[in-house]
Amino acid sequence: MNMKNWGNKLLLILAMCISQQTSHTCGYDFSVMYYKFMENDNISDPLLIWFIDYQPEFGLGYSEKAKEPEDRNIEEWYQFLKGKVSKEDLIALIYSSTLTELEDVAKMRSQVNSPSIVQLWKNDSRLKKKMLTYLLYAKKCEEHALWNADYWAEYKEPDQGRLKRLMEEGIQEAKKATDPFFKERYAFQAIRMAYYKGDDSKVLEWHQTYFTSIKKWNHICYRALELKAGSLYRMKKAEAPYLYAKIFAECPERREVALTSFKISSQDEWKESYAYCTTPAEKIAFFAMRGLNANGNLNEEIKNMASIDLNHPMIEMLMSKYIQKLQSYAFPQDLEENFINYPRVEDRKALEETAITVASMLSNSQLKNKDYWRIAEIYLQMMLKNDKEVQLKSKKISESSEYKEKAKLLSFVSKICHLQNPSDEDIIQIWSQYLEDLSLFSNEDLKGFVEDIFSLWFLEKGDLARAMLMHNDMVVLRNYLNWDLILQLEKFINQAQDNDIDAYLISQRCAGREQAKQMLLELKGVYFLQRNQLDKAIAEFRKMDLRYQRTSVYFNNSYLNKSIWTESVRNPYFDTAIENQNHNALYKIYPFLNKRYDLISYAEQLKNLEALTVKDQQKADQYFYLLGLAWYNTGIQGWNRPALYFSKDNSGHSKWFSYITKDPKIEKNFKHLYWQYETYYNPDIAANYVKKGLQVTRNKELRAKLLFLWAKIEKSRVPVYNYEDEKYSPAYYESFETLKNESKDTEYYKEILNECYDFWRYVYPK
């Protein structure tokens, strides 16, 4: 593949990417949409999946494969009650009940809405009293935990007196409680209130009293430990980060809190804090959390962690995060930035360093989940463009391995990324491979990427038809019509080969060969119509069979009947009632207008108007105006653009003079101005009719309308506002100037002044 030509090819490909399909991409990182070939579901510990996409500002990532940590608080209540109640009922009672509802239950004014709990309490009134007393107290504490839940509410300092009373109440109850289950919970709530009150010494004292001698750590122990860590952090003690690391290592449901609270500000603090670690898992957590930070160097932290425990699942978590980043760098959907330009020199260096780390892991006989690391190695080799290595290493993953499909996917991606100047046979063979393997064909990310690559290959061979169809349905091509493309499409449709790729393009992009032939006639007609060659257009349209004429939504496009002749300064209203009113009004003014709405009728209507300008010269100005309106409105800036061009959402324009599309790919083409080279639009057709109208009209109102229409047409010469020179054509300013000087006493002038900011600003400059 000639890399030097890639730039030019990409420009063309960009123009071809106007697809009516939805985006395939599911990856999202740092605002970049990218193709994601390595999902984050293949690490040993599914509880860690959330952290692969973790970003400090945005919190945890999302993955369908991620496993939610279980609610150990509810689990512990469930165990404590010996499974006599349902977990759903416990959740309703503990999390959903309000303080008032619980007070009503305590005062026997109502019952809890949890059948299994009602039954339990019926059988054990002492237990009911214990549970209700604790829950009432916990709900009072909860109010303080949630004091700033509504950020719009006025901030009120916590009520210190109330916090103190709750602290005392909790600790008294903890002292009294004989059951460790309630003792721990009362102590935790008391510590929590002390923490909110800012009483760090009490937090530490009570934690010491109630939690340090516990042998079997439970959920409440970790919650209490969090508060102790918070107090130590406020006291600037190095033990604080250590405690968060311990929570991160041992308590899945509190990992996110631990991670966001873990802060170290100096090397000394790191050393001091790290020295508290007593287990490898705690040490690993230190490096894992530093790696998950925005500035974490994942490769370095992987090495640090591997030196402690080669098989710790958190190492895989960081490795998957690393690959996720690579994907966002190397496979953004923006073709200008994609894999072709990757890796840059700096990226290569980073990749090589990480490849050494991975190789060193794999060389260690103690490594357990070897296939995960082999996949990582394959990915890195793919990024380094060592396809040979990728193919070799992919084959080494055994058929029985759960990573076999990943290996197959990466091997395929690598193969198509590295194939240079593929022969027709190669292309057909690779496509068949892609099509036949369901795991490849059903991968949505791969689909988008494959379309990009195959499209480039066809383009290199000068096969515009297949290149375009690889990305687009045939109907989309009305935006890119030139005679060469039409001939190529014709050739393709008539001579499509009996192979998988042609079969796919014919069936999926053209709805079958017969339909394709009809669509081609329609495209030819549109080609001539866009160029005001009406007889040729009508002739092509008439070649289409009647069944197709009746059923084609593009031939019978609804934008042909939507106020195409409107004089309104702003958008015509497209809702039915007003649209009908507009139509009725128009047909009263111009009773000769055709009321059939298809491309043949429209072309004939234009022909008829043209003829009327000669036959009925007294009204020639009106006919020229209508012709100008029609050509402007069906042009690229017009409200009825979808009549002659393809539009993804089929919408017109929402703003006067500014074209905004909802299709990001079209927008990109606007941005780069490729679009004007690819899409045929000749504003002179409309402008010439307007000029003829201006020459013959003696009607001041109509003259105002013609002048304003002329300005619109002139502005449509530039697809987007030109930020560089800020100039439109001289005719644009000329039309505004003439309008300003000659049409002041017309009604239409007042309407323009009222509705059009640009003209208003022209008349009343700052």
Binding site: G59, K263, I264, A294, N295, I660
Partner: protein, 342 residues
Amino acid sequence: MKIKWKNILVGTAFFLLSQSCSDVNNEVSFYHWKSQWSVENSQESILNKYKVEKIYLRIFDVDVDEKTALVQPQSVVKIDSFPNTLREIIPVVFISNRSILGRTAEEIRQLTQKIQSKIEEQIRQIRETNKVQCIQFDCDWSEESRSAYFQMLRQFKEKLKAIQVNRISVTLRLHQVKYSEQTGVPPADEAVLMFYNTGDLTNVETENSILDIETAQKYVKGFSNYPIRFDLALALYSWTLQYRHGHIIQILPNAYEEVSSSKLYEKIADDRYKVRKSHYIKGQYVYKGDLLKIEKVNKKQIKQVLEWMREHRREKDFTIIYYHLDPEVLAPYSKENLKHWN
């Protein structure tokens, strides 16, 4: 060779002192962009040192909370009390574009009401010691959010009168002044042009993203046509950008002295250093091999901006508001430095 930034800055300031100034207002104003205002810290001494009369005080941000997806006030400033030497305090509310993008008129009305209540709550505290007559809104609105933002400003203008706030100020970005026809002119009484953050900081090749003169130059021509009077906000801060393998990693504020003087960094070009050994700096971890790029605004650039203001701006006089009130940022400057740039 080690660069003594402090010396350079002081030298710069000395040079600038010798220049005359005719059109820049004599007062020194600052933005305060931290989350806590307290007279107990060194802020009061700064106010005295620079004889500050006016402060633009960010009171809270309005943004979409990433976790709840709700528009919420964030980083609400905690106010202790203000010295009464301050002639005026202008509270500033930052509104993120995404907070208002795609909202209906009714949603905007409701949001305006919530912001209004929050402003009133904050103003009550400020007014215990100081006057508040003007509020500033800081929003980098887009064409899509323009209508919502302007609707909001009109509603504020109406509502804030009830609490004796008679002036609405807005911040402007360069493109909003240059392309006012496209971006619209906000319905405000006055404005402040934020003449900083003009370059692309993600690009390691960008000379100075705080004030990229080359980029900024393209925008200054539209100044004279802008219908609202605007003052000028200039950045005094410096920052150190951390890059790894050509990708931006993070911003390290106020780290230039440490970076330029410590042996932990190898100077590889002007204002560019390579980390020799992984370590913590300013509470952030940098790894061996990371590239640190120091960016700051120099006197030549400030002089250029002031020249542009004089050349292209309609009004003859204007005030400079410095970003931002921070002892570390301001350490190299005397009051005279900040008053006489030209």
